[in-house]
Symmetry: C2
Subunit: 293 residues, 2 copies
Amino acid sequence: MTAATGIAPPGLGWRDNGQVTLSGPLQRLATDLDAAFLHLARSWAAVEERHPPTIPAAELHRIEYFESFTHLATFTVALDADEENLEAFSRQPLGDDGVVALRRSRPVTDVLTPAACYHVYVHHQGEALDTPLYVTTRNTCFRQETSYEPLRRQSAFDMREIVAVGTRDEVVRFLGETTALVDRLLVALGLEIEWRVATDPFFQPARNPKYVLQRVQPTKHEAVFAGDLAIASRNLHEQHFGAAFDLQRGDGPAASGCVAFGLERWLYAVVATFGPDPAAWPDPMAAVAQVTQ
Amino acid sequence: MTAATGIAPPGLGWRDNGQVTLSGPLQRLATDLDAAFLHLARSWAAVEERHPPTIPAAELHRIEYFESFTHLATFTVALDADEENLEAFSRQPLGDDGVVALRRSRPVTDVLTPAACYHVYVHHQGEALDTPLYVTTRNTCFRQETSYEPLRRQSAFDMREIVAVGTRDEVVRFLGETTALVDRLLVALGLEIEWRVATDPFFQPARNPKYVLQRVQPTKHEAVFAGDLAIASRNLHEQHFGAAFDLQRGDGPAASGCVAFGLERWLYAVVATFGPDPAAWPDPMAAVAQVTQ
């Protein structure tokens, strides 16, 4: 499949900072695929939540995010608003190398969203749930990588998630049934994948007990396209987020789980399967109608 | 109207970093309003473009962005990927004050999108246009402000734009006709606004010749709701972007113009006008169907 890496459908623009522009039919396909995922979310009457682009670092620190994914994090930074500092910057904002000469910056307190579902646990923290909570949310996610490839591995990409917070049984049932729906959607779209056990991209994995635990007791599965591209994942978090964010269900911390879709990677899978001509692409809304009827 | 500032419709979450969460009916209203703006864009057969969340600082420097809007800019920053640096960070990522202890960071080269339409000129730079170019794009925009208010003034907010690049006549015609469409949409929605001459939020305006020029020769008009909230703007850029990004139309640099919609501010206007009960809100798709039929 490596040969197909360099697909160049019309409407794909690529920058060497690891980000893409989508336009015309390719952007329409992205919109329609996301509409199909939203349609799946309706099977759970999931509430649609639109969260901010950043998360307070102090919130992510509660789940030891920076210890586990040190190398992936991207932060926001701004100039110290002191007039003299701003003036100095305005006189020479960039060096000859095109690098921003920041002068004094404000304290860095926010992280650009690394995964869409973190916001859900932060937002609902402290809640005691009488019924399971089903949420769907989409966000632009940022990850620093050692190299980038259009649609396959980007420094910024869009992720749609469907999230369940409840008892362990409720979450396990949600993951099983949602996976079955995703499988049917993939068949209706004509995309072939294989579900595989996977691990999260931990920093120095061998030293991280969470990675070791994930190896022993798999909690992450990925829908792998063409042998090497994970286009969706299914994750059982057990009580990891429930305990960290004081989300209660029944007598103790809630369990949680999510099914995540990497939008640009679905575009890749469609174009790699059906070619660059939009006329040959499947219609995501027609496909999802078959699945959920 | 100041009294209505503290509106709190169901589904609005607010963080002190100046960002909101929208959920349920309020998020649906945001989706529907954006669909209505997209519908207006179809009057121009505008191509839909989805651009990245950041812009290379070197590109924005070509229009002297950092000299003009020094105080607004937000950048992305990441750790230097050197293993020792990452390890040091992972051992103590945050200080006791919750501030991120960045250690050595990578060179800062990208700005978080300050306005959705900049991407269009960057993306199409160097093109010689045979016909006018109409594009619509939406992005999350970041601006540092001295204070924030939910839905009214946020550190991150969503902006939909319809952009025209062509001869000055083509752009002027686009701006006039699009303004008329927006006016009809506002009437159909039941929202009252007043168009006013405005200026961009320049850094140290009195010292900036661009601000002085904008006072003498108005190029920006805003649709102002309830006397103090600009929910849309109409901007004639003359050849500012055409010249900077080598966009040609006819014998010289293209002119450009845009109509911009501040998504969250439209939510504010709807809730302030019709109250917090979603049952009383107008249906944006029904409204826009009246306008474009």
